[in-house]
Symmetry: C2
Subunit: 155 residues, 2 copies
């Protein structure tokens, strides 16, 4: 429950809401170098890191993947595509150390959000905030590329 | 009310929820070339296009703005930063034609979402879905840049 409360998605939930959430979470172990999320695959689970470390990647070309992020902190989570339609993972993910994770099933979480709209509203607001931040960061990276192009045309 | 129901944020709301939403919306007119949203400024309003057209831009360098999108369809909306903390607009926006818009105040919408968590949950889920799509598109653009770099290193 303490682990779940440290995940950005669940900030602002009450103790009783966190308890109900913990009841649908299951702990799994994943070996180093094992992939557990496949870009373009059906997003059925949300993953919350308990121990270890995971890496997010996106495929650019056959044989070349672009690293997006490494998560090492307990409570870091991935697989949020399981919370929104069309429920398709947008990134690959693998463990870079032997890891323990809590997994939360999409259907079980949806049921919880349907039963408690306040819980649903909090989780979705937290998710939207995080996605907006990532969108800003990604746009910022794009800007760096455009700045380079812009400067080269000014020479 | 029909206009609001065509905005992606409000898909799935009931007629009575749309009616309450329409009661907090105000119609404004904005002249061609007028800016109504400033990157980095306090996000106090959500804008839903009724007539006309608007352009979203982001500043790259002094005197150089990168166009992000043009919206021409009634129901297209911008200013969703007014729905999530830290409530700061992430883009500039100006009308490219004389336009009419519905504006929805942040505080009034927050109040509505607090009073009706189901409405809040639906709006936030729609927003998260849209932000995830935009994030995927923006990552795709980044990939194009990286592909170019990757290919040039393979020559």
């Amino acid at each position: 429950m303490t682990l779940l409360s440290s995940c950005y998605l669940f900030k602002g939930l009450s103790d009783s809401q966190l308890l109900r959430l913990s009841e649908i979470a299951k702990e799994i172990q994943i070996k180093k170098d094992q992939f557990f999320m496949k870009e373009g695959g059906q997003a059925e689970e949300l993953f919350v890191l308990k121990e270890g470390a995971l890496e997010l990647l996106t495929k650019v070309e056959d044989g070349f993947e672009l690293p997006i992020a490494i998560f090492r902190n307990p409570g870091d989570c991935t697989g949020t595509s399981s919370l929104v339609e069309p429920y398709i993972y947008s990134l690959n993910s693998r463990c870079v150390e032997d890891s323990k994770m809590l997994i939360i099933n999409k259907a079980a979480l949806n049921k919880l959000m349907q039963e408690d709209h306040n819980l649903g509203c909090i989780i979705m607001k937290n998710l939207a905030q995080q996605l907006l931040n990532r969108l800003k960061e990604t746009r910022q990276e794009l800007k760096v590329h455009f700045k380079t192009i812009f400067k080269s045309t000014q020479l």
